[in-house]
């Protein structure tokens, strides 16, 4: 089923010339697979294939995330994504990442409880996709809002899908914009 597994890891050491306050590692793991609905025209019932394919993908990608970050406890934040090849529907990617067969398995395997933030797109091979990441147990934790960009030179082909899981080991480097507890009350009428 999998043609290619692709991972990217980013370690930011300095920002604007100075060491960052937190050495966060951001990672993404992607599986390039055949679109199971390619060539079938409109298929109304997508759940059966999602149930067959998505759990194994979630297991494989979660294992890569844990490996890249050095263990499940190092996974502080997570995200997911799909890139659908030009011959498919966005709904095909949605079927694989937005149903419990993927998200629940991924969440459980990295000890998360949040809804998993996502992005999706349809594009040619080499299409870059920015994958959002947020805290795995407290999604509103502002310091952990971040992204990683993924690009696979030769995928997805028209009849393929790229399914992605992403994670970060901590907050953004130099995060310093406060959170809901420190925000002033801002209302539109005050700003006019």
């Amino acid at each position: 089923m999998i043609r290619k597994l692709y991972t990217v890891a980013e370690d930011i050491v300095t920002e604007l010339g100075a060491p960052v306050d937190h050495l966060t590692r951001r990672v993404a793991a992607a599986a390039v697979i055949d679109n199971p609905w390619a060539g079938l025209g409109r298929v109304d019932e997508l759940a059966e294939e999602a149930a067959r394919i998505a759990p194994a993908l979630a297991r494989e990608l979660a294992a890569r995330l844990r490996g890249l970050l050095g263990g499940v406890d190092e996974v502080e934040a997570f995200g997911k994504a799909a890139i659908v090849g030009l011959g498919g529907e966005l709904e095909h990617g949605a079927a694989l990442i937005h149903t419990p067969y993927f998200g629940n398995v991924l969440r459980e395997l990295v000890d998360g409880s949040s809804i998993i933030v996502f992005s999706d797109d349809r594009g040619p091979a080499g299409n870059p996709l920015t994958v959002p990441i947020w805290h795995k147990t407290a999604a509103a934790t502002r310091s952990h809002y971040q992204t990683i960009q993924l690009r696979i030179p030769d995928a997805p082909r028209d009849d393929e899908l790229v399914v992605v899981a992403a994670a970060a080991s901590g907050p953004r480097p130099n995060a310093r914009i406060g959170d809901r507890t420190t925000d002033p009350a801002v209302r539109l009428e005050q700003l006019l």
Partner: protein, 183 residues
């Protein structure tokens, strides 16, 4: 050396041409984004002092990391330097084309051949291909290959991206006749 970030890519190819690739073919790339050591200095005639300082640091940083990312014995390898728009390609060449850099990779890989390389000047987000050849015999055709990478926000105009690539095997399903059959 002023290091901004390290980016690591690993690609596992499971299938090619509709057939399984067994064992799965793995290629790894590690890139370091650094400030161009000669940035803002105008034309510098003698590059040797900063080569002596920076090239070994880059070799020590990258060689073990790419070996660790590959997790297998290295059979083919290559390197690259992408210079930001305000620098000279010579700056990138200076950092990768001396033994002070390359020997770190040769030692880690138990290699003996010259490292094939890409050098170019480009904006952040440029796509580039790192060529790889066999680590002890650069005429082994099955191991001629390349790997494409890109860092969205590097190199800045005053930066250089320095990279090493390693493959655990030759091309997947390689089936060209060896050079010796044509000689």
């Amino acid at each position: 050396m002023k290091l901004r970030k390290i980016v690591t890519f690993v690609e596992d190819l499971h299938r090619e041409g509709g057939r399984p690739v067994d064992p799965i073919a793995r290629v790894a790339v590690v890139l370091a984004v650094i400030e161009n050591p000669w940035a803002g200095q105008g034309f510098v005639a003698d590059l040797a002092p900063l080569i002596d300082e920076v090239a070994p640091q880059l070799g020590e940083l990258l060689a073990p990391r790419v070996a660790a990312a590959l997790e297998r014995p290295i059979e083919a390898y290559g390197k690259g330097a992408i210079v930001g728009l305000d620098g000279e390609i010579e700056h990138g060449s200076a950092l990768i084309h001396t033994l002070k850099f390359g020997d770190h990779f040769r030692k880690v890989a138990a290699a003996s051949t010259l490292l094939p390389a890409v050098e170019k000047r480009a904006p952040a987000g440029t796509v580039f291909d790192i060529p790889l050849k066999h680590i002890t015999d650069a005429t082994i055709r099955s191991h001629h290959q390349s790997v494409e990478v890109r860092v969205p926000d590097a190199p800045r105009a005053d930066e250089i991206v320095i990279g090493l690539a390693a493959a655990a095997q030759g091309r997947p399903l390689a089936r060209l006749a060896p050079l010796s059959t044509e000689q």
